[in-house]
Symmetry: C2
Subunit: 110 residues, 2 copies
């Protein structure tokens, strides 16, 4: 069906999955890495840097913005994108907790 049955999962499970989805495409990973690297914010450079068409990059930026990991400020004709550090931190907390489940000291399995 292609339709995830979100209703049957917890808020937390859906939240983790949604965050993960944002990271689930190499273009979005690349965009985030570039934004961290460049520090000051850039926009259409990403088209050149990454090598996908402008509408495609714009679409990926929208997804990252929707989930709150980046923000964009209008600057003349261009838009300056940057990491939303507060939300990045919050996201890290959520994801880290999930990743560190293995530290809960359990014996082994089959």
């Amino acid at each position: 069906m292609g339709l995830t049955k979100s209703e049957i999962f917890t808020e937390e499970q859906n939240q983790i999955a949604n965050i993960a989805k944002a990271f689930g495409h190499p273009a979005r990973v690349a965009i985030l890495q570039y934004l961290f690297k460049i520090n000051s914010c850039i926009c259409g450079d990403l088209v050149e840097e990454i090598g996908l068409a402008q509408p495609t990059i714009s679409q990926h930026l929208k997804e990252l913005k929707n989930i709150g990991l980046i923000k964009g400020n209008i600057e003349g004709t261009s838009i300056c994108y940057c990491i939303n550090k507060d939300n990045w931190s919050k996201m890290k907390t959520i994801v880290s907790e999930f990743l560190n489940q293995d530290l809960n000291e359990n014996i082994n399995c089959c």
Copy 2:
């Protein structure tokens, strides 16, 4: 197109995206949490626990197995699934490095 242009990205970017994809569905998040919680390994319980049809769960398990986060041991008629802890650790290293990019002390943006 629905076809990701993996060629234009680095190995690392694709790797992160692929890991994230595995976490990009709440059912797979739930499966992993359950496997951690139950400690000893379980199989078809997941169908009851989660509430998706058996073929659907089986498919999600396959994806988690393909990426190496879980492993399954045959035990009679049933199959005992559990976390692949070595790979989980390796995965954590990769993901953590990505998540901790923000610690690279940069000023602010726009």
